[in-house]
């Protein structure tokens, strides 16, 4: 029984869940976070109310941060990354960018994703027109309490368009995956806009709506039935401006007619890219990436959270677009596997 600490990389929902799960069974953990504070995307990008709980990110994820920061079994290393990693399962050694050296029995990568950068779709006006914003920016407008306003002049938008699949399902820019949560998040944002600004009309332009599972009732149906959000099947061709308002161009596929409709604000429902650091993470940890650039997973049936290298586990959006709830669940599963390894009780795989 080596009982060396488990190295958890990344302090977002998955990393916080893994560290807490390990600490709760008495396992020493080193949590390495490259940013100056814990919380990951929900905290660092200023998310408002989370899907599906409806709790504010600062409360829900903030509580996860609190219980890890105050836990004596978790050694939190902020503004640090793993510079070098070597060894074998049960006896790894990591060198951190701050010079510290960590002995680790196992590692759990909870390195998350990177928001798609909308400037990569210039035809949709982000970076050209100030009133073209991203879902992350709208989340910030709501969570900061300032409300949804046009960045150009601070006015309340009378008409808002949300464009889905920005940076998702788009072979033109090498992003074939569905980012899974943007439909639901957009429905949620649409309802929040309608709640704050009841006179504002919100239109969602979609290719398919994927508010999967139980999100159907709570988001897709509710946004239409209670909040009168309108869904139009059309992938927008371009966003321009007439000098006063934004103009979106596209085809209304149900009417088979071209549309050029004025809007006050256009919101990009940005997708989840592989973490920009994934290539260097793969090199540092000696693990493989899957074809889209996310961290590759082993078989899920025997042991959830395996990478291509024994002793290194992975959880959450590092492996592909993922919800917060599922990231947390995966992190706990990976923590269990890491814990078993550190205590030299290998979990039997289905194949064995």
């Amino acid at each position: 029984m080596t009982n060396k600490p488990v190295l958890v990389v990344g302090g977002g929902p998955a990393g916080l869940a893994a560290a807490h799960a390990l600490a709760s069974v008495g396992q020493q953990t080193v949590l390495v976070e490259k940013e100056g504070r814990l919380g990951g995307a929900p905290i660092l990008s200023g998310y408002a109310k989370l899907v599906p709980s409806g709790e504010w990110a600062r409360d829900a994820i903030g509580a996860m941060v609190g219980r890890v920061e105050n836990n004596p079994l978790v050694n939190v290393q902020l503004s640090a990354s793993v510079a070098a990693f070597s060894g074998t399962p049960g006896a790894f050694r990591a060198t951190l960018s701050n010079g510290q050296s960590v002995e680790a029995g196992a590692a759990v990568l909870c390195t998350g994703f990177t928001h798609f950068d909308s400037v990569n779709k210039p035809e949709w006006g982000f970076g050209t027109y100030p009133d073209v914003v991203t879902t992350a920016q709208v989340e910030q407008m709501i969570s900061s309490g300032r409300g949804v306003r046009c960045p150009s002049d601070g006015r309340k938008p009378e008409r808002v368009a949300i464009l889905l699949c920005v940076g998702s399902r788009d072979r033109q820019i090498g992003r074939e995956w569905c980012s899974k949560i943007c439909c639901t998040v957009s429905s949620n944002i649409a309802m929040e806009i309608r709640e704050e600004l009841p006179d504002t009309h919100v239109y969602i332009y979609y290719m398919d709506i994927r508010t999967f599972g139980l999100y159907e009732t709570k988001y897709y149906w509710r946004s239409q039935e209670e909040f009168k959000v309108k869904y139009i099947k059309s992938r927008i061709a371009e966003v321009t401006s007439d000098g006063k308002r934004l103009i979106i161009k596209g085809e209304d596929t149900l009417v088979k007619r071209p549309i050029t409709i004025p809007f006050d604000m256009v919101v990009h429902a940005i997708g989840m890219d592989p973490n920009v650091d994934n290539k260097s993470l793969a090199a540092t940890f000696g693990i493989g990436l899957e074809p889209h650039g996310f961290i590759g997973k082993g078989s899920s049936y025997g042991n959830l959270g395996e990478t291509s290298r024994p002793g290194i586990f992975v959880a959450g959006a590092a492996t592909g677009p993922e919800t917060i709830d599922d990231s947390i669940a995966q992190a706990k599963a990976a923590a269990m596997a890491a814990f078993a390894l550190v205590h030299q009780q290998p979990v039997q795989t289905a194949a064995a």
Partner: protein, 255 residues
């Protein structure tokens, strides 16, 4: 090369000019036919709210365009242009001009309610059809049909007296629709009726044209019905932003 999507070109969008010169180029005649753009340039967001405010239209915002209503529709089987799914979309997105193109077929719904049972989201498409027809009428887009005028005359008499009087219905209907009362078939019918009618009945009919018979104690019922109908009408007209008598042919209740 053949013109693809030729079905998208609408006759009213073809513009041919007898004499037109643009920048010194003669573009007159058939060979210089222009096609007006099909682009939709704005949404009219009022329409959905207006039709939602009319009886039957309340749940229109639930529709997700599955097409179950159109697929189950009795009238659509006969007339493919009768497409409830499509109209619901036009209303929801506020494409008024597109909706008005079909104003003369929307009322053809036969209220079989197959759509009501097929709809997975309880939109109540049959109600939406009724609300839309009502909306078209209130907005003055469709004139009242003769049968509507007949129904109104019938209803007005029942409301006023609790009874109907056939002779009066026919007289008033013919007056309102500006048809001559002395028509050959009508005279023939009246004569045959008169020939076989018992004397007492003929006397009563004659009397009832002079003295209007009423259901005993009707005035309370009349006032209640009148109040309710007026209240609903005021509510609906307000929802559509219409003034008291705008777009409406006068409906007068006798006493």
């Amino acid at each position: 090369m053949p013109i693809h999507e030729k079905n998208l070109i609408r006759p009213e969008n073809l513009k041919t000019h007898e004499n037109l010169t643009i920048d010194g180029v003669n573009v007159s005649g058939h060979w210089s036919t222009f096609i007006a753009p099909r682009v939709i340039t704005d949404y009219n967001e009022k329409i959905e709210a207006e039709i939602s405010a009319l009886p039957g239209g309340e749940h229109i915002n639930r529709c997700w365009q599955c097409g179950s209503c159109t697929n189950s529709c009795t009238v659509n089987a006969v007339n493919p242009d009768f497409n409830p799914r499509y109209w619901i979309y036009l209303i929801r997105m506020g494409m008024e001009s597109e909706l008005l193109r079909d104003k003369d077929i929307i009322w053809q719904c036969v209220s079989c309610n197959k759509c009501t049972y097929a709809c997975p989201r309880d939109v109540f498409p049959e109600g939406v059809m009724k609300a839309t027809a009502h909306w078209l009428e209130l907005q003055g887009h469709t004139p009242k049909s003769k049968s509507t005028i007949f129904d109104e005359e019938f209803t007005e008499q029942v409301v006023a007296t609790g009874k109907i009087e056939e002779g009066r219905i026919i007289r008033n209907f013919f007056t309102k629709t500006r048809q001559p009362l002395f028509q050959e078939w009508l005279i023939e019918m009246a004569m045959r009726v008169a020939r076989h009618m018992p004397v007492r009945l003929g006397f009563l009919m004659g009397l009832s044209t002079v003295i209007r018979p009423r259901t005993r104690g009707w005035s309370k019922a009349r006032d209640a019905i009148t109040d309710y109908v007026n209240e609903q009408e005021v509510k609906q007209r307000q929802a559509l932003g219409l003034r008291e008598n705008e777009g409406k042919t006068g409906r007068q209740h006798e006493n």
